[in-house]
Amino acid sequence: MIGKEQMGLLKQTQDTWEADVEKRGVKERKEQFFTRSKIPVKRVYTPLDLEEAGFDYLKDLNFPGEYPYTRGIEPGMYRENLWLIGQYGGFGSPEETNRRFKYLLSKGITAFTLALDLPTQMGYGSDEPMAEGEVGKTGVAVNSLRDMEIIFGDIPLDSVRLIGTLANAIGPMALSWFMALAEQQKVPPTAFIGFLQNDILKEYVARGAYFLPVPSGLKLSIDVLEHCARNFPNWLPLMVCGYHFRDAGGTAMQELAFTVADALAYIEEMIKRGFRPDDFVHQFQFHFSAHLDLFEESAKFRAFRRIWARVMSERYGSRDPKTLKAKIHLYTAGSTLTAQQPMNNIVRITVAALSAILGGVQFPYLSSMDESFQTPSEEAAQLAIRTQQILAHEVGITDTVDPLGGSYYVEALTNRLEEGVWEYLKKIDSMGGAVKAIEQGFYQSEIAAASYQLQREIERKERIVVGVNEFKVKEEIKLTPLKYDPDAEQKVVARLQSFRKERNNPAVGRALDEVRRAAEANQNVVPSVFEAVKLYATVGEISQVMRDVYGEYVAGKTYF
C-alpha cells in the first residue's frame, strides 16, 4: 500500500496539522468523543491508524465472498440478490394472525417470523394461572397444532422463502409444528426454509423466556439442532442472538463476544453428540441489533464476519465456506425507539437499517415506529416494509459491495471491536465457556454495568436522546391504536378447554408418556414430541412433562 517513507511524511504532516488545529483555540463540543459503545473516537482517521494495527488488505478484508468475509459472504451481495424483506408478526387469536399474515403477504414480504405470546414461549397453556393477562399479548397463543393449522390456513408454507418462529425454550415443540404442517400441506421440507431462534442460553441472561434449568434447557435446543442436522439440512434451527444483550443495555462489543461464546457452547455440545462442525454450523444464523451509531454498527457486522471465520478456522480447522460464512439476521434495536414524538422513530429505524445494509447483513427486520408503546399497527408495519424498499431501490447503497470498506474510521472501528471480542473470549474461555460464564453471572454483571452507565449518561445529558432529555415538546401521544379483540384471551381459553375434550385423549396420554420416557432416558426428545404434537398434545402438557423430569429454573444472583 503506502510505502514506509510516505508513512513517515504522513505522520509528520498529521502531527503538524493536529498542532495547528489545537492552536486555533476552538473548543470542541466535548472533551472526549466516544462511540455508543464507549470506544474513543479521534478527530480524524488516516492510513496511519490502519498501519498501526498492522492492517493487511488481503488478510483482513480480502474480496467479498472470500475469507475472512469482512466485506460480505457473497461475491456480488445486493447486486445479485436483495435481502429478504421480512416481518415479525402475530398477535391475539390464530384467526387474527392469519389475517395479518395474509395482509403482509399482499405487501410483498418474502420471509415471515411468527410471534408467539409469552405463555406459549414459556411452556404454559393459555388457561394456566401464570398465563393470565398474557395470552395473545406479545404474539399469538399457540396451544397446539390446531392453532397452527388456523394461522397457516390457505397459506402454503412455501409461499415465502423463510418461515419460522422465535421459540427458544420450546424448540422441540415449535419444530414439530412446522414438520407436521409441512406433512399436512404436502409441502416438501426442501421447498422452504424453516427456521427457529432456539437460542436458550441468552434467555438466562437477557430475555427471561426460560423454564428449565440451564443444562436441560440447553439439551432441548441441542435436540432440535441434532434432529435438523440429520433430517432437514436446509433448515435453520438456531439463531444465536446478540440482539438481546444489546437491548438489555450492553455494548456492541459485548453483543458480539457473548454471541460468539454462546455459539461455541452449542458447537461443543454437538461435538459431544458425535458431529463435526462442518456437519451443522451452516445451519446457524446470527441475530444482532442495529443501533444508531451508524459507523460503529456497520463495523460491528463486518467485524463479526471476520471473527466468526477466524474462530471456525482457528479453533476447528474448518475450511468449508458454508461453516465460515456467518449469516446475519438483524432487527433494528427496539431500545432506541422513544414513546415521545414517535414519528422520530421512523428516522431512527431508517438510520439503523442503513447501518445494517452498509454492513452487509442477510435478513434485516425493521421495528415499527409505534413499537415502544403498543403492538405494531398495520400502518406502522407497512411503513417498516416501505423503509426497506426505499433503501433497496432508491438510495444507491445496494449497487456496490461493502461501500464503507477502506474507510479509515470504519476499518479502525472494525479492528477495535474485533480486538475487544478476543479479549472477552479469552476471559470466557478461562471461566470454562459460555454456560459457566452465564451460571456465574459474568454476562449479566457486564451488561448491567454498561446499562446503568448508559442511563447515567442520558440523565446527565452527556448523551442526547431527542424528545426525551432534550428537544422535548408537550404532546399527547396520538397513534392509531391496534384494534384487537378484547375478549381474545377468554376465547382462546374457552377454545382450548373444549378442544381438549374433542381429541383422542388416551392416545395423547400415551404419547406424553413416550415423551417422558425419552426425557428420562436422556434421548433426543424431538421424535416423541413430534408424535405428541400430531395428536394435538398442547405446549403446556408437553412442557409439564419436561418440568416433571428436569425441574424448574430459579434465577441465580442478579446483578444491578
Binding site: P213, G551, V554, A555, G556, K557, T558, F560
Partner: protein, 382 residues
C-alpha cells in the same frame, strides 16, 4: 453534629432536642390514630395492640414491628418486652459462607423440606448496605420467593446498616419477633461478603458453614474463625469436578482443630442445592445437632451465654446513651474536647469525673486501671 453510633438506643435527651425539629413524633404508617403517638402515655396501649396482633400471628403487625426495630424506634422496645415471654421455642439456624456459595438456594430448599415436615419457617436474609449511601439492594428473595404465598413461611430481608459481622444489629430482635409468633425454625442467612461472620454463631443454635468447590486455594485461606463456628459444613455445588478435593481439604482442616475432642464432631456434607440433592441429609444433620444440644445440656449453656451477652450489650448501650446524651446536650462534651485539646484535662480524669457526677463517688479506684465489665461495675454501685 457528633454522629451517634447507636441505632437502637437513642438518648432521650437527643430525642427531646430532635422534637423541636418536627420529626420526633414519628408518624407510623398504620393509620390508627392511637398508634401515631410515641409519647409515654400512649405507648403501652400501642404496644398491647401491636404485640397482641403479633401473638395472634398477624403478618402485617410483625412486619411493621420488624421495621420499627430496624429503624431504631423506641416504641419497638415496649413491644419486644411484651413478646419476650413468648420467645425461646424456635430452632435457630445460621447459614453462612462466601458469596456465590449458593446460600440462598440452600435456604430455599431447606425451607421446602421443612414445609414438607409441616414446620413453620422464618427466614431472615441479610445483605450489605452501601457505606456511601446507606441504601441497599436486597436480592435474596429472588431465589426464595416461591414460598411467598405459603402462610407457613415468613421471609424478611434486612440490610446490615453499617454493622460488620454478617448480620445487622437488629437481626436478633427480628428473630425474637418470629420466635414469638410461633415459628418453628428460623433460618438466618448472613451477608457472605468475606467478613468475619462469626456473630451468627452467637445468635444461632446450629451454624451451617457453606463452601463451594473452585473458589481456588482459599480453603487454606479460610479464617480459623469460620471453622470454629461451624456445627455443620456443607460443600455445595458438589456436582463440580473438584468437589471431593474441597471436602477432603475441609475435613483435613477440621481435624487440625485443637478442640477436636469436643463432644460434637462437625461433619462435612455434600449438596447440590440447585438440584435439591443432599438437602435431606443436611436437614438430618441439623436436627442431629439440635438433639445433641438438648441431650448434652449444651442448649442451656448456649442460652445462658446468649442471655448474658444480650444483657451486657444492652446495658452498655443504655449506660453509654444515658451518660453521653447528657454530655452532648449540655455542651459538656464539647468543653471536655477543648480541655483535652489544650492538654488541660486528661481523658482518664474526665471520664472518672463524669461517672462520679452521674453515679456518685466510684468505689474501686481508677476505672482505667481495673477496667471491670460495665455490668460488674454497676453491681458495685448498688
Amino acid at each position: 453534629m457528633f454522629n451517634f453510633p447507636c441505632a437502637r438506643w437513642v438518648p432521650r435527651a437527643l430525642l427531646r432536642r430532635n422534637a423541636t425539629r418536627s420529626n420526633y413524633t414519628v408518624a407510623l404508617r398504620d393509620r390508627g390514630a392511637e398508634e401515631q403517638n410515641d409519647e409515654v402515655s400512649g405507648r403501652q396501649e400501642v404496644a398491647l395492640v401491636l404485640a397482641e396482633r403479633i401473638l395472634q400471628g398477624e403478618i402485617r403487625a410483625a412486619a411493621r414491628l420488624m421495621r420499627d426495630i430496624d429503624d431504631g424506634f423506641k416504641s419497638a422496645v415496649e413491644e419486644l418486652k411484651l413478646l419476650y415471654p413468648h420467645t425461646g421455642n424456635a430452632s435457630i439456624i445460621g447459614i453462612t459462607g462466601p458469596s456465590g456459595a449458593g446460600k440462598s438456594t440452600l435456604v430455599d430448599q431447606l425451607t421446602a423440606l421443612y414445609r414438607r415436615h409441616e414446620k413453620k419457617v422464618g427466614i431472615v436474609a441479610v445483605d450489605p448496605s452501601s457505606t456511601f449511601t446507606g441504601g441497599a439492594i436486597l436480592g435474596d428473595r429472588i431465589r426464595m420467593n416461591r414460598h411467598a404465598e405459603d402462610a407457613g413461611v415468613f421471609i424478611r430481608s434486612m440490610a446490615t446498616r453499617g454493622n460488620l459481622g454478617g448480620v445487622s444489629r437488629a437481626t436478633g430482635d427480628v428473630v425474637n419477633v418470629l420466635d414469638a409468633m410461633g415459628t418453628d425454625v428460623i433460618i438466618i442467612e448472613t451477608v457472605g461478603v468475606g467478613q468475619d461472620e462469626i456473630d451468627i454463631a452467637r445468635m444461632a443454635h446450629t451454624t451451617v458453614v457453606v463452601m463451594v468447590p473452585g473458589l481456588g486455594d482459599d480453603i487454606q485461606a479460610i479464617k480459623a474463625g469460620i471453622l470454629e463456628i461451624g456445627d455443620v459444613f456443607v460443600v455445595n455445588k458438589a456436582d463440580r469436578d473438584d468437589a471431593d478435593h474441597t471436602v477432603h481439604e475441609l475435613t483435613a482442616r477440621l481435624e487440625m482443630d485443637p478442640d477436636k475432642d469436643r463432644a460434637w464432631q462437625p461433619k462435612v456434607l455434600k449438596t447440590v442445592a440447585s438440584r435439591n440433592i443432599g438437602i435431606e441429609e443436611l436437614l438430618g444433620e441439623i436436627e442431629e445437632h439440635g438433639a445433641y444440644l438438648h441431650r448434652s445440656g449444651m442448649i442451656r449453656h448456649l442460652f445462658e451465654e446468649k442471655n448474658a451477652r444480650i444483657f451486657l450489650e444492652l446495658l452498655k448501650e443504655r449506660l453509654f446513651a444515658e451518660v453521653f446524651g447528657h454530655l452532648e446536650v449540655n455542651g459538656r462534651f464539647r468543653e471536655i474536647m477543648e480541655e483535652m485539646a489544650n492538654r488541660r484535662k486528661d481523658p482518664y480524669s474526665a471520664v472518672e469525673e463524669i461517672l462520679a457526677q452521674r453515679f456518685g463517688p466510684l468505689s474501686g479506684g481508677s476505672a482505667s486501671e481495673s477496667n471491670p465489665p460495665v455490668g460488674a461495675r454497676l453491681g458495685e454501685e448498688k
